[in-house]
């Protein structure tokens, strides 16, 4: 399978076989991601990291991934000190980044920004989140986490909880989980329901998701509970946000009703949707999930640079 020079824009650009290959390749990266082993396979390569929107995990794990592979990183963590502030368009910024580096990772507040970047760059572009659009590396690390913990993805009852309307991770994840034939349950307030478009995509892939507003009902049968934050920044008006924030809370009392081997995941940051007391339980997987961002991004970077032997 050849990923050399390929842009990583949307999970929908990948076949199931390609995702399986990527997830398998990621396993090999774990000892390098946690510092047990060392490699310089990307020595002399420069990754340009363009973050037009705030990020902690995605940016740091991309940087860590590139460094762990022996490569170097240039870029910015917020656009206020760049020419964008002077009115430069994205296409021009990308042309520059392309000439200064061997690969580009981009996070941008507008949907489709990474796809546009890929049009203007010769170097491979990796999408680190475009507005409410795609976030393929998050999706891959979520799949990887489920695979590592549950040994398979197919047949697991995955409950997606919270902001299913604006949350970019849940849209790609619902699609990818459907490719792998997981059972899906969508739990959200009425006003933040999963868009019809996404539900139709799941159906086209042969999965019939169940939708409910009751977490209590859904938790009992869940194998994976994927919690998302109600994202204030995606709401068109504050009134709607105030109406739904705090709709659900995952705490120890709720988890008493869950299966013993339920895993709780969250793309983070969390605000109030998971009680800190859950951190101590065996259900809490979100920090391990965040770590998995490093081996997944190492696998992607390694592969887009040709997948040389470590």
């Amino acid at each position: 399978m050849n990923f050399k020079g390929r842009d990583i824009i949307s999970i929908k650009d990948f076949s199931k076989a390609e995702i399986e290959y990527l997830l398998d390749y990621t396993k090999k990266m774990i000892p390098y991601a946690n510092g047990e082993k060392h490699t310089n396979v990307l020595k002399e390569k420069i990754l340009c990291s363009l973050f037009f929107e705030p990020s902690t995990r995605t940016r740091l794990s991309f940087e860590s991934a590139m460094n762990r592979l022996g490569g170097r990183v240039i870029g910015f963590a917020e656009p206020s000190a760049t020419s964008q502030k002077k009115g430069e368009n994205l296409a021009d910024t990308i042309r520059m980044a392309d000439s200064y580096s061997d690969a580009i990772v981009i996070r941008h507040p507008q949907e489709g920004a990474a796809r546009l970047a890929a049009e203007f760059a010769k170097a491979p572009v990796l999408n680190a989140g475009d507005g409410a659009g795609q976030h393929p590396t998050q999706c891959l690390l979520d799949l990887f986490t489920i695979l590592m913990e549950k040994k398979k993805i197919k047949g697991n009852n995955v409950v997606l909880l919270g902001d299913l309307k604006y949350g970019r991770t849940v849209h790609s994840l619902a699609y990818a989980l459907s490719m792998f034939k997981a059972d899906l349950t969508f739990v959200s307030p009425e006003s933040l329901k999963m868009p019809k478009e996404v539900i139709n995509e799941c159906k086209e892939l042969g999965v019939e998701p169940t939708s409910t507003t009751s977490l209590e009902k859904a938790i009992k049968e869940a194998d994976v509970l994927y919690v998302t934050r109600i994202q204030k920044e995606r709401f068109p008006d504050a009134e709607e946000y105030n109406r739904v924030v705090g709709s659900y809370k995952v705490d120890a009392t709720l988890l008493k009703q869950a299966k013993e081997d339920l895993i709780v995941m969250h793309p983070l940051p969390r605000v109030m949707e998971i009680d800190p007391e859950v951190d101590k339980t065996t259900h809490a997987l979100y920090f391990k999930q965040a770590f998995n961002g490093v081996p997944v991004r190492m696998a992607l970077l390694s592969l887009v640079f040709g997948g040389k032997k470590l």
Binding site: G112, R115, G131
Partner: protein, 150 residues
């Protein structure tokens, strides 16, 4: 051509069987009148064998039928008739291409294609009957295709 209520043309192009009410949008897609000085006549809600339809006639200009395929987005049943000396010498039923570029604006206000970037709008055609499109950039599917016509 005898069934038409409007006068036949001697030479030119007749776009027939346009979805009723969409003739003006078809003209907009074809950049008419900006792109031509020919006489253009439009008939709307004309009764035909298959119900109501719109018709556009462009005199003394033979439009490239293939180039007209893009109007299939809003008029999937349209036919293109090339007329010479009152006779139909070529008839073409429009076929929606796999991709439509520069004729419809993405309905997502935060799509990068709506920003000040040097790109044209671009959609993948994901369904032909009825026509369904998805933005190449933001991957959203507009609810009403006709609204986005530039």
């Amino acid at each position: 051509m005898k069934e038409l209520k409007v006068t036949p043309i001697k030479d030119g192009t007749v776009i027939d069987h346009i979805t009723p009410g969409r003739a003006l949008k078809v003209l907009r897609i074809l950049k008419i009148p900006e792109s031509t000085s020919s006489v253009v006549s439009v008939a709307m809600n004309v009764s035909g064998k298959m119900g109501k339809k719109d018709i556009v006639k462009v005199e003394n200009r033979e439009l490239d039928p293939k180039e007209l395929d893009k109007i299939a987005l809003i008029a999937p049943k349209a036919t293109i008739n090339i007329i010479r000396d009152y006779e139909v010498i070529k008839k073409h039923k429009v076929v929606l291409p796999d991709e439509v570029i520069g004729i419809a604006k993405c309905s997502n206000p935060t799509c990068i294609s709506n920003a000040r970037e040097p790109v044209e709008s671009r959609f993948h055609v994901i369904g032909k009957d009825p026509p369904r499109i998805k933005c190449y950039y933001c991957e959203r599917e507009p609810e009403d295709i006709t609204e986005g016509i530039i």
